[in-house]
Structures are given as structure tokens and as C-alpha cells.
């Protein structure tokens, strides 16, 4: 059986930088705001090729996000780009009081989200950003699964008048979507049908969920994969429907099990359709710096761990 995952891998931050350059050239309102990480987040392409649209704010995230609030108040559309860890924690009061509460048109992009941040360890990993952003009124929270979806989400964000948070990954991921994929805010996407259990996944864990489902298919298990690119607003109807259809839900995210997609799904199910479920994510632990595969294995985010969880769930 052919895999749903393309053999071609692309890096989200590359397409992100290129698309942002294009936006900055097409739209006079778009400005790119950096916190001195442009050559990591790949917005350095804007600094080099369209420097008048690139605003360096230095290593001072709190000021950076408040400045974006002021820029937006004059009618501009700033895109604030830094690591997810700093955006979601260092500057969160500024984001809440000056961007989310006044509902200003600031786009916030956290590069290097999750656990796999390139040997930088727990200070630079971001396992809480979904939980934090999801709790802010007016906030939209998005996590793409591949670089095609990154671009589609950016196109949505550009047209949408209000604050949006997008979490990106550092390293390459297999392409899942083709170019005519239609990203819709608040809509889940069925990537694989199945009858025994549904994995609801977001961001980088979606390609691992597909891998796990395809692995289990060979063992005779029928596992659905429901990708949730829009964590807020959440496609609650799709969650309930998946629970009705398969009777068991496993969530998968490169994030803490507290407050992220797993929690969001559990909230919906508990109130609408109580269903057995398991959350796959980083447990109540501080992580460390190590190569990607070793981190995935140790912190329970690997494909084989996901498959094990599902096998055990279906034996009960």
C-alpha cells in the first residue's frame, strides 16, 4: 500500500520565510518583526531582499510584541516571529493585554515549537504554547503538519483581521497535502479512514500518526487519522463524530499533555460524548537536549510508542 506521506520532505521555516517575503512585497500593510532570530526562523530572506519591510526589535520580546500592538493600531499588519518558547512565555502578558484583549491584527509565529528544537534543550523547547495561547480570548491557534499547509495557513492569516498564533517546526517533514488542499479555519481533515480507533493529531505529530496508522494497518487494525490544524477554533463536531464512529480516541501532539490538543479534545468529549481516550504528548516532565529520535523515544512521541499505545488500547 502506498503511504499517504510523500517521500519528499520540506522544512516549514523555509516556505514560511519565502511566503512572508512574498506577502511583504504584495501588501503594503505587512511588516515582518524579528527578535534577532531571523537566520534561524528563516525570515532573514526578508531582511536581505525587502529590507524596508523588516523591523529588527533586538533581543527584547516583551517590547517587540507591544510594538507590534502599536503598529497594528495604526493599521499595519505586523508578523512577529521568534521562537515559540519566548513568544508564548516571555511575552505572554504583552500578547494578552495589548494584542488579544484589544483584538489587534498581529500575526504571531513561533518557530522551533515542541520538543525537536535542534539540540537546544528544555529552555528553548516549547511544550506549553498551545495551552497558553488557547486560553486567550480572541486568539486563533494553528499548527500545520507540512509546508504546504504552512502556506495555506499564512494565506488565511493574512486575510483574517485579528490575532493568530501559528506554531512551526524546525526540521523537515514529509509532504502530506497537495497544492490544491483547501485549509479551512475550524475544520478538521480526515487523512485516513478507519473503524477501530481514531488518532486526532496536530502539527508535526500528524505525519507520525499516519505512520503509526499505516504500520497498524499491516497488523489488521483499522485506524483513522483526523488531522486538527486549527486547535482554536476546534472542530468540535468532527471530534464527536470520530468518537461515535470508532469509540476510541487517541490524541497526538508535540506538546505537553496538559492544556493542548489532548485536553481540548477531552473537554469536548467529556461534555458531549464521553469516550475512552488517551493523550500522547510529553508527560509532566522537563526535557533535555538530545538528538531528535532519542527525544521522541524517551518522551513518548515516537511512531512505535504511538503504535504501542493503540495496540494496548484496543486489547482492553
Amino acid at each position: 500500500m502506498a503511504s499517504l506521506l510523500s517521500e519528499r520532505k520540506e522544512t516549514m521555516r523555509d516556505i514560511f520565510g519565502e511566503t512572508l517575503l512574498q506577502f511583504s512585497q504584495e501588501d503594503e500593510k505587512v511588516y515582518i518583526v524579528d527578535g534577532d532570530l531571523a537566520n534561524s526562523t528563516k525570515i532573514d530572506i526578508v531582511a536581505m531582499e525587502n529590507p524596508q519591510k523588516f523591523l529588527q526589535m533586538g533581543i527584547a520580546e516583551q517590547n517587540m510584541l507591544s510594538v507590534c500592538s502599536g503598529l497594528a493600531a495604526t493599521g499595519l499588519q505586523p508578523w512577529a516571529v521568534t521562537f515559540a518558547a519566548f513568544l508564548s512565555k516571555r511575552a505572554i502578558d504583552q500578547i494578552q493585554v495589548q494584542i488579544a484583549q484589544p483584538n489587534l491584527n498581529v500575526k504571531m509565529v513561533g518557530g522551533y515549537s515542541g520538543l525537536l528544537t535542534g539540540l537546544t534543550g528544555k529552555t528553548h523547547q516549547s511544550l506549553e504554547d498551545i495551552a497558553i495561547f488557547r486560553s486567550l480570548a480572541n486568539m486563533t491557534v494553528l499548527a500545520p503538519a507540512d509546508s504546504v499547509e504552512v502556506k495555506k495557513m499564512m494565506e488565511f492569516a493574512r486575510e483574517y483581521d485579528g490575532p493568530v498564533y501559528i506554531r512551526l517546526a524546525r526540521d523537515p517533514y514529509p509532504i502530506i497535502f497537495n497544492e490544491d488542499y483547501n485549509f479551512q479555519i475550524g475544520k478538521a481533515v480526515y487523512l485516513k479512514e478507519g473503524t477501530d480507533l481514531t488518532i486526532i493529531s496536530t502539527g508535526t505529530q500528524t505525519s507520525r500518526a499516519i505512520e503509526a496508522a499505516e504500520l497498524l494497518q499491516e497488523e489488521g487494525l483499522s485506524i483513522a487519522v483526523l488531522h486538527m490544524p486549527s486547535i482554536k477554533p476546534l472542530d468540535e463536531a468532527a471530534v464527536v463524530k470520530a468518537a461515535e464512529k470508532t469509540g476510541y480516541i487517541v490524541t497526538a501532539e508535540e506538546h505537553s499533555i496538559y492544556g493542548g490538543l489532548g485536553s481540548a479534545v477531552a473537554e469536548v468529549l467529556a461534555e458531549n460524548k464521553p469516550t475512552p481516550m488517551q493523550r500522547i504528548g510529553v508527560k509532566d516532565l522537563n526535557s533535555e537536549s538530545a538528538p531528535n529520535e532519542e527525544l521522541l523515544n524517551k518522551y513518548g512521541l515516537s511512531v512505535s510508542h504511538m503504535a504501542d499505545v493503540i495496540r494496548i488500547a484496543l486489547k482492553k
Binding site: 533586538g58 527584547a60 500592538s69 503598529l71
Partner: protein
């Protein structure tokens, strides 16, 4: 609009009276900081800023950001005097569904140019607004008031750095230097320590143009804003020496009046000190 010093003085007195009455009515709010800020706010809204209360969302209007957002009642009082809302509306301060939130909310009341309340953030937003004006070749000017206690927030100095790096000569920050904060440090002889020392040297070191004035003297205030207009290539900070609780004898220089609500008797005494001269 350009009012005489005498008219400004009376307007400010009226604004002070509205602050005390509103805080008494609401049973909550701040007093000391609003009273130290109110002469500067009165001047800004009556004599300095290009604004039109009947068109408060005009894209080319001058902007004001009250970074020390807990002095909101002072701003509301002046906005009411200036015609942004009926004076009667001040009675809704702090109450459910009111446009006059404890801290300024730009979404509720047209005339508020930025939401503030968490200290240190307003000045950064003012930097963003001034930068936005420059990027769009707009002529409007941006004004921002910070507190001396607020200046303990590191973000103030992040904003100082960026304001200077982008040469924002369309930005004027006013430091309400009233020398008291909510509690602060024990000083000598039962006094409190000054929240911020050497503001002029600090701002100058960050590359700002510094003007020092008496923040209750309308002649001083007027010449400072006129001087600020002539400055090119760098942002301006006006270090305004003020008195916390200014205008009501028993509230002046007393940190306990930072956010105390006057009793009925205190209200009567305060109002008697604020009768407007003809």
C-alpha cells in the same frame, strides 16, 4: 484650540474634582497618580494634540497612550471635559458594562488610543504607533505618559532603546515624576524612597532628548512641548516633576493616597479646596 493658563488652571481643577468625586462614587480607583498627572493631561488634550472629539477614530489624529494605566480616571476626567463623552458618564467608572474600565480599554471608548494596565507596556505600544506613523509617512505625533514607579519595569528600557534606534522624533514621552509608588522601600525618617533616581541621565544615555519641567506649571509645560516639536532624529522625554495627590493638601506626597477611596468627609474637604475661580 489654545487656552490661556488661567483657563487651563480652572479646567484642571474641574478635572481633579471629577476624579475625586468619581473615585468616591465608585468606591474604587486611584487618586494620587491621577492628581499628579492631570495638569499635563489637561494641557495635552486642550492645547497640544491635534484631535477632534467628534471624530475620535480619525486616522491622522495625534495619539496618546497612558502607559501608567492605573491613572485612567484622570484621563477619563479630561476626556469628558474635552467632549469625548458626557460628564455624567464618569459615574459609570468601574461598573459592569461601562466604557470606563479600571484601566483604559481602546475597544470600549473611542478616544482611547491603546489598551494599557500592565505596567511598562504602553510605552512600547507608543513606540509602535510612532514607528507605524513613520513607515506610512503620516504626520501625526504620539504622546505617552509613564510613571516613575513604572520605570522599574525592564520593558520601559527596551522601549527606550528601540525608540532611539528608530529615531522616533514624532514621539514624546512624559515621565510623571511624582516620587512615590504604591509602597516601595522604607526610607529615612518614616519617608518612602524615590522609585527612580537620575531619570535625566538614564534617558540621555539611551539617546533621548531630555527636557525637565515643573509638571504643574502650564508655562513650563507649554514651552516643553514646543521645544519637543523642534527636536529632529531622536525621541523626546519630558521629565515632569510632579506632586502625588497634587491640589488637595491632605493627599499631597502621601503614598497612602495611591489608591485610597475618600470618605464622605474627605470628599467634602477635598472639593472645598477645588472651587473654580471665576
Amino acid at each position: 484650540m489654545s487656552l490661556s493658563t488661567k483657563v487651563l488652571f480652572n479646567k484642571a481643577k474641574q478635572a481633579r474634582r471629577q476624579v475625586i468625586e468619581t473615585v468616591h462614587h465608585a468606591g474604587a480607583g486611584h487618586v494620587g497618580g491621577p492628581l499628579s498627572a492631570i495638569d499635563l493631561l489637561t494641557y495635552l488634550y486642550f492645547n497640544e494634540m491635534k484631535i477632534d472629539p467628534s471624530n475620535p477614530r480619525d486616522k491622522d489624529r495625534d495619539r496618546f497612550v497612558l502607559s501608567k494605566g492605573h491613572s485612567a480616571i484622570a484621563l477619563y476626567s479630561v476626556l469628558a471635559l474635552r467632549g469625548y463623552m458626557p460628564t455624567e458618564e464618569l459615574k459609570t467608572f468601574d461598573s459592569l458594562n461601562s466604557r470606563l474600565q479600571a484601566h483604559p480599554d481602546m475597544n470600549t471608548l473611542p478616544g482611547l488610543d491603546m489598551s494599557t494596565g500592565s505596567l511598562g507596556q504602553g510605552i512600547s505600544a507608543a513606540v509602535g504607533i510612532a514607528l507605524g506613523a513613520k513607515l506610512q509617512n503620516k504626520d501625526f505625533r504620539t504622546y505617552c505618559m509613564i510613571g516613575d514607579g513604572e520605570s522599574q519595569e525592564g520593558q520601559v528600557w527596551e522601549a527606550a532603546d528601540i525608540g532611539s534606534k528608530y529615531g522616533l522624533d514624532n514621539l514624546v514621552v512624559i515621565l510623571d515624576y511624582n516620587r512615590l509608588q504604591q509602597f516601595g522601600w522604607n526610607g529615612e525618617n518614616g519617608k518612602r524612597k524615590i522609585p527612580l533616581t537620575n531619570p535625566e541621565q538614564r534617558w540621555e544615555a539611551f539617546g533621548w532628548y531630555v527636557i525637565t519641567i515643573d509638571g504643574h506649571d502650564f508655562q513650563d509645560i507649554s514651552s516643553a512641548f514646543n521645544e519637543a516639536r523642534e527636536v529632529k532624529g531622536k525621541p523626546v522625554i519630558i521629565v515632569a516633576n510632579t506632586v502625588k495627590g497634587k491640589g488637595i493638601s491632605f493627599m499631597e506626597n502621601a503614598y497612602l493616597w495611591h489608591s485610597r477611596v475618600p470618605t464622605d468627609e474627605e470628599l467634602t474637604n477635598a472639593v472645598s479646596e477645588l472651587s473654580v475661580e471665576g
